[in-house]
């Protein structure tokens, strides 16, 4: 148990709560699944209960819900224009899901869904496949004009197209790794500094005096992690909107 406490990786372990097997695949209901479900329930309940008054002059909870709504709507409208608003439910769901999952992960002993690369990668692929499928369905082959910007001298077209293709393919990776790495690194750092406090205070009076520093660091990092939790959800949303803009307006 003592080893568990100072092991910063332990918090990312996935434990099966209800083992389920589908053919060759292990699709057990795990602690990760539990917190995904918790994210859905908390996110939905918060937004529904915050707006239960439906008041003309909102109370503070309703203001938060309305601010989330108008913030995401503004990001999407600024990046993709009015025609981008058809993706508003998707973008808003992504923002709220990531934000609530990040914030739930800040509660001690809670699992952070977004600290696993596969989750963030799936969300990123959802965005990119939406871009590709909608882009081809709406613009046909013109969608690939995205990779050959107009106004480039003929000799440079192959080079520029190659760069554009690589940058397009790296998008889901950068989008998912950014979120995953931020959540993972933040939680590890927090755990390491909190672990210092435990180990040092076990080493007598001098250790207790020395543990003040890592304790202050833990407090400061906790505040920083709350900021990161929001900021990463925001960044994920902004980038999603910019990528969706490519699907709606493929010409550069």
């Amino acid at each position: 148990m003592a080893a568990d406490k100072v092991d910063p990786i332990h918090q990312f372990h996935i434990t099966k709560l209800v083992p389920i097997n589908l053919g060759h695949y292990d699709v057990s209901f795990t602690n990760s699944s539990l917190f995904m479900a918790a994210t859905v329930i908390v996110g939905t309940l918060f937004l529904v209960m915050a707006t239960s008054g439906r008041s003309m002059v909102p109370n503070r909870w309703q203001v938060v819900a309305e601010m989330a709504y108008s913030m995401v709507a503004n990001i999407l409208r600024d990046a993709a224009g009015k025609s981008g608003m058809k993706f508003f439910p998707l973008v808003f769901s992504l923002f709220m899901f990531v934000l609530v999952a990040n914030l739930l992960g800040m509660i001690p002993y809670f699992f952070t869904v977004t600290s696993h690369i596969i989750v963030t990668f799936c969300l990123a692929m959802l965005v990119i496949s939406t871009v590709v499928i909608y882009g081809i369905w709406k613009h046909g082959l013109h969608f690939f004009g995205l990779f050959a910007p107009s106004g480039v001298p003929g000799a440079l077209v192959p080079l520029v197209t190659m760069i554009e293709v690589i940058s397009f393919l790296s998008r889901p990776i950068s989008l998912s790794v950014r979120l995953f790495a931020n959540m993972l690194a933040g939680h590890i750092t927090l755990k390491v500094f909190a672990g210092f406090v435990v180990t040092l205070s076990a080493a007598g009076v001098t250790g207790m005096a020395g543990s003040v520093l890592p304790l202050a660091m833990t407090v400061a990092l906790t505040a920083l992690e709350f900021l990161v939790a929001f900021l990463q959800a925001y960044v994920f949303t902004v980038l999603t909107c910019m990528y969706l803009n490519d699907a709606i307006h493929p010409g550069h």
Binding site: I9, F12, H13, I14, T15, K16, L17, P19, I20, L22, Y25, D26, V27, S28, F29, T30, S32, S33, M36, A37, T39, V40, G43, T44, L47, V48, T51, R54, M56, P58, Q62, A65, E66, Y69, S70, F88, P89, L90, F92, S93, M96, F97, V113, S115, H116, I117, I118, V119, C122, L123, L126, F180, L184
Partner: protein, 182 residues
């Protein structure tokens, strides 16, 4: 129940032994995470697009409409109050004009009647003055006429007393006339 707890404990134990792999890169958990993410995120998407977003959007739209309506109403009220203000100003100006007319009319009527009365008084006074002057002139002429008589008599008495001679009244009168003419 007991077997269930047992399996959970075994799984946990197995996980701890297995612990070499870094959990986020442990591909044995990927299938479960992908499936449950698809289920939960799909549910979340449906809840957002069917329940939450129409709800918040409706609230925002209702507020937007209400504000627009109230602004329009306020503009109408402002316009009507401005019209009322203008009408008030106009009637005030009219009333002031009328008051000025009435005042000037009254002033000129009073002036006219005053003038008439003054003229009357002046003319009656000048008539009286003229009558008095006539009377005075008459009295003066009468008195002057009597002065000649008195002078003649006095001169006659003086001459007769001083010289002892009697002088005719006609001579005395001629002498006095000669003196007074001179």
């Amino acid at each position: 129940m007991a077997s269930n707890v047992n399996t959970t404990a075994e799984v946990h134990h197995a996980g701890a032994e297995h612990g070499g792999a870094f959990p986020p890169f442990d591909s044995s958990t990927f299938a479960s995470q992908i499936l449950w993410l698809a289920i939960t995120f799909g549910l979340f998407y449906v809840l957002m697009s069917k329940v939450v977003l129409p709800r918040i959007g409706g609230i925002l739209e209702a507020r937007h409409d209400k504000i627009a309506k109230d602004l329009e109403e306020a503009n109408q009220l402002k316009a009507s109050s401005e019209a009322a203000g203008a009408a008030y100003e106009k009637s005030l100006a009219e009333a002031r004009q009328r008051a000025q007319t009435i005042a000037s009319d009254t002033r000129s009527a009073l002036n006219a009647s005053l003038d008439a009365k003054r003229h009357e008084a002046e003319s009656s006074l000048s008539a009286k003055i003229a009558a008095a002057e006539t009377t005075i002139a008459g009295i003066k002429a009468k008195a002057l006429a009597e002065v000649d008589g008195i002078a003649t008599e006095t001169a006659e008495t003086l001459v007769s007393t001083l010289t002892g001679e009697s002088v005719s009244r006609a001579d005395v009168a001629a002498a006095i006339a000669a003196v007074t003419v001179k």
